[in-house]
Amino acid sequence: MSTDTNDKTNRLKPKDFITVGIFTAILFVVEFACGMLGYIHPFIVASYVVMIPLVGAVPMMLFYTKVEKFGMITIMSVLLAIIMFVTGMGFLGAPLIILSGVIADLIAKSGKYKSFKKTVISNGIFSLWICANYFPVIVSADSYRKDLLDGGYSAEYCNNLFMAINYKTIGVLLILCFVFGCIGAVIGKAIVRKHFEKAGIV
């Protein structure tokens, strides 16, 4: 009987799924709020890699304190992929999102979800999902550019967009995502300490 219950504690419970759902919703709201700024100028689209990891790190770090079992970060990435798909961002980015989720989950697991260093790296890797936003631009850069022009975008917007985001810069963008994901994790952790730990919530 007792071994039976031990088995079950390693499985995710409804409470865990609900936690994942809540934090995914919050993270998406953050992404959406930052995404609105992208309508202003294409350079802002490129700066997602800085903004979203930094702002999103606060809920993420609180989320990490609630993760104790493998699967929660993975499920979050699957949900994000589904939401991105439903809101019209396409499915090209899905593999990247889910892959970064699984790897982030594995890294955090290797630190038993307690190690701060592993959490920072894990969040850095997880932040790569943001680059999925750029996939439609990069995968078919040339034809996409032509499409945009035909579709009514001005040459200037396109030039700016492709100057900031192309197959050469995507590497840089991925690295930036990772770096700011890590920086965000450190700042986010400080904020979680300052508020949630001090208040005795986590």
């Binding site: 609900i18 809540i22 949900l79 019209g88 499915f91 009514g152 001005s154 200037e156 208040a199």
Partner: protein, 233 residues
């Protein structure tokens, strides 16, 4: 009259629309197909008696189309025009997906959605989490509006010009509220048997009716037309 569509049909609609959205229309014929495709969810919204949202979407889309076709060209420059292009381009590009998503989210009940996911053999964990996401968006909106009221009252909406404070003041109370609500929500859901080993049943029967097949055919046709005319011909 209420048209009851199967949630699976709705998901298929989203699948097709977001695929088509990625393939920019390049000829008049493709534009026509695209516009017709966008009209379908608008009509569905009207059938659901959601007149104001249908009207808003139709209005925005039309304006964006007119702006794109009439006023802008490759040579358009200047900040104002660049902004205008940016906006209308994005509206034209993504409005079809947005409106379909809106229609689906607004007309699908969580119970229905969960049973559809179960029928498609999606793991329970993902289904539950996704249902919570759907339920939580309105909650976040409610909480956020209360918090922003409180910020107005304190005169700290702009965080004293400090961007970090601006984010912190919004994020911290929001996270506290969400964590609390989440805890209570889990407790309430678990005591009502969520996550048991029994297979969940559903009162909303899932059946593909004539309307479902009609829509599935229509959207398949749109997808096929796009692929043929864009990449093969």
């Amino acid at each position: 009259m209420r048209l009851k569509l199967d949630p699976r049909t709705k998901l298929y609609m989203i699948l097709v629309v977001s695929a088509v959205v990625l393939m920019s229309a390049t000829t008049t014929f493709l534009w026509t197909v695209r516009i017709i495709m966008t009209l379908i969810p608008v009509i569905l919204l009207v059938i659901e008696k959601r007149y104001s949202s249908a009207l808003w979407f139709a209005f925005l889309y039309t304006v964006a189309l007119i702006v794109t076709f009439m006023f802008l060209s490759e040579e358009s420059t200047g900040i104002f025009k660049a902004l205008l292009t940016g906006y209308s381009g994005i509206v034209v590009q993504f409005m079809p997906a947005l409106i379909t998503a809106w229609y689906v989210v607004r007309t699908t009940k969580i119970g229905e959605f969960m049973s559809a996911m179960q029928k498609m053999h999606v793991p329970d964990g993902i289904t539950i989490s996704l249902a919570v996401v759907m339920r939580f968006f309105p909650t976040i909106r409610e909480e956020y509006s209360a918090i922003s009221d409180a910020m107005k009252m304190r005169g700290i909406s702009l965080g004293g010009g400090n961007a970090v404070k601006m984010v912190e003041y919004r994020m911290i109370p929001l996270l506290f509220s969400c964590v609390n609500i989440g805890d209570e929500l889990s407790a309430a859901a678990i005591t009502r048997g969520l996550g048991g080993e029994v297979k969940r049943t559903s009162v909303g029967e899932l059946r593909l009716r004539a309307a479902d097949w009609l829509l599935i055919t229509a959207f398949t046709a749109v997808a096929v037309l796009f692929v043929i005319f864009k990449y093969i011909l």
